[in-house]
Symmetry: C2
Subunit: 445 residues, 2 copies
């Protein structure tokens, strides 16, 4: 069996893409937004039907708000897990076309969910059909996990993964999606930053006091300000001892990938950049620098003559490999106590370990080589993604190498108005799935 | 003419108090709350009628929201200005009796405005009636300024004082009111702290950014935190150079007064006190220490994954003699700029100079001696009041010595539920006005 795409197989991919584009269009008419019970139920039925039709054994996995659909099919030396989700964000403002009455304009499909994430699921199922159509048996064991809670923070995913660890066992994972960058290159993402979100709360008084009492009473607002100022200096360096100790990026492989990556900071107005960061350094920092961001400050109701009894701040800390959110939380608490702010409460809101896939792992190499073959250009390989997501729950925490690629483009407007994908990207996306699977299977595990 | 109270005059005061208590009760039924046009108009009519009946020439002085009532009567070597206000704060929560259907229970009158400030105006007019009743002609030229905007920050008062400077010329002022402290001693206040309120605003981004951008973008929240931390250290000392330069209190006279003052911090839970402040030092700091309070902090809408484009803080700075709010504002701006935060905008919200009356000035001495005579105890004389108010507009900025005393008590619940005054305090309050006037007039100017 060849690991590359024959002309016949490529044509089968194009035909499958042509058949699946209208099916995707229909699927995008389903308003599977959290809280829309009918839309969510219809989306579940569609995913079940598609997977069943593909020949999979299908199981519904209950979760906290909406069930995940699991499907399994094929045999082979490698087991590949596909992660997708059927829920979408709501319409939001600014659309020039209807969000849930999908239209094709200029060879692009405009609809909420076209890119995030229904188009990717459709492309993956089209890939299975293309292989059958070309007379191939599936070369690997394939598992599909299609959840319905991604857009609301995947509240049930960790529990689901814990309960169904054996079902979800795999050699590697193909994550929800990806896009072609502004230069038309396909992107492949090999990991994500982690996250620690905490709320710091300081309470000094039983109730708000008249501000004349500031002469004698402790101020929650000032204590919060001083505690925060002790966490990060004006030089942007985090002052918590040990914060940077576990940082292992960028490696030589990372830097090699970085050289081929589109400049993520291209759109940042220079006046908004931190001092000393040239435009060339933006991508490097976005991918490899941990952050300590204050996403909210709260004290007082706005009246002028009050001492607020309480003040709070939300800290959102992005972590890079191998910073561990639990360890960073411990360091943070320890530093606050040592710095004289043991009274400042630290409430955990969210934690996600950073996760990454070695650029030389089989799935990363397979995707990279497939991209070269399908698109005819060198892909942009991101060793990390600057955002966060549930990747760590399914892959990182279980040591599962994962790659993310898909059918979007840099103008897909994910979560924005007029979300769209192009038919051409969809066709190539189908071939990309086939080619990656063939390469992985040909190498064995 | 005797400067003391004869038994006959004292009886005349009691009779006048007895007649005026029901009139006050009726006045308190008028809901003269800002925005209640009918209540405000009725209160203006009552004040006009009362002053006219007392024999005053009465003039309405237009202001920005509600007119002030001015009345003038009597002749003598001294001109005394009485400042009062006819507006009240609204009901607020927690009342066990109706706020605007005044009731007398256990020799106390319960009604919104009984203490703040209608009871004091009534006692002052009752004092004039008592003198007439006792066959005395008024020993001084008396001017009454009764405004209707005090509870909304006296927005028109400065303009009104500027327009009617000659009309309001006087040798001294008796300010709106006062109270008997927890030990039953009458209090006399000789000044007030000043105030500077500014909003600090820092804007770094055109719009809120995804928090992943914290790796490369300027953070308004962090810049605000660092700017604030540069204004006051953990030792509670204001770091703005020159901030303390103009501080002239406490003087030897101030300290002598302080020794006789009820402990204002008696009710402060020790756990809420700043470290190193013993209960004995609370009053001294409340009266004589300037403050730099953060009354509000604002950044972000509470979502966790955002870099807020803007962050702001409200600073409320209480000033002591002779700190000047304009000079302190200048120092603050200069310090921020020198400290690297020239981009932090400083928006002035309110400014009031601290003002004080020398404890040895005639009006202060007259009030102190009158209090001894009327109440039979040494009064508690506060060289400054830890709060702020429009005293500086009428008196401080014009060099007019002023005293504040009145008919409330420490349980009067000003601005709170079940506001009340006691008939006994009202009777003594009437005599206090008479006695103070007689002493001032006997000394001449």
């Amino acid at each position: 069996m060849s690991a590359g795409l024959t002309i016949g197989l490529r044509r089968a991919c194009d035909r499958a893409a042509g058949r699946w584009f209208p099916r995707l269009q229909e699927f995008c008419a389903v308003r599977s937004v959290a809280g829309d019970a009918e839309g969510m139920a219809r989306a579940v039925s569609t995913v079940q039907a598609w997977l069943t039709e593909a020949g999979a054994r299908v199981v519904l996995l209950p979760s906290v708000r909406a069930p995940a659909v699991y499907g399994e099919l094929g045999e082979g030396p490698v087991t590949v897990l596909f992660y997708n989700h059927y829920d979408v964000v709501d319409e939001g403002p600014g659309w020039t076309l209807p969000a849930f009455a999908p239209r094709v304009r200029g060879k692009a499909l405009y609809a909420r969910g076209a890119a995030d994430n229904k188009g990717n699921l459709a492309a993956r199922l089209a890939a299975l059909e293309a292989m059958r159509d070309a007379g191939l048996t599936l070369p690997a064991r394939l598992k599909f996990l299609v959840e319905g809670e991604e857009e609301v923070g995947s509240p049930g995913l960790a529990g689901l993964v814990a309960r169904h660890g054996r079902l979800l066992a795999a050699d590697c994972c193909v994550w929800e999606g990806g896009y072609r960058d502004a230069r038309g290159r396909p992107t492949i993402r090999l990991g994500m930053k982690g996250l620690l979100r905490v709320e710091l709360r300081c309470r000094c008084l039983g109730a708000d006091a008249h501000s004349k009492m500031a002469a004698v009473k402790k101020s929650a607002a000032w204590r919060l300000v001083w505690a925060l100022a002790g966490l990060k200096g004006r030089d942007e360096r985090v002052s918590v001892p040990g914060f940077y100790d576990a940082v292992t990026v960028p490696t030589a492989d990372d830097l090699e990938c970085l050289a081929g990556v589109e400049d993520e900071g291209a759109g940042v107005p220079p006046a908004e950049l931190l001092p000393g960061i040239g435009p060339r350094e933006v991508t490097r920092r976005l991918l490899f620098s941990p952050t300590l961001n204050v996403s909210a400050l709260r004290a007082g109701a706005g009246g002028g003559t009050v001492m607020p009894a309480e003040a709070s701040a939300t800290l959102d800390i992005r972590l890079v490999p191998d910073q561990d959110p639990a360890e960073v939380e411990r360091l943070l608490r320890g530093h606050l106590a040592a710095d004289g702010f043991g009274d400042v409460e630290v409430a955990l809101q969210a934690a996600a370990r950073p996760c990454r896939t070695p650029p030389r792992s089989p799935v990363a190499r397979a995707a990279r080589e497939a991209a070269r073959e399908v698109y005819g250009v060198e892909p942009a390989v991101y060793p990390l993604s600057p955002g966060s997501g549930p990747l760590h729950v399914v892959c990182g925490d279980r040591g599962l190498p994962a790659v993310a690629f898909g059918v979007g483009h840099d103008g897909s407007s994910t979560h924005g108005p007029d979300e769209n994908i192009r038919l051409e990207d969809f066709r190539q996306g189908v071939a990309m799935v086939v080619c990656t699977l063939l390469k992985l299977a040909s190498w064995g595990r």
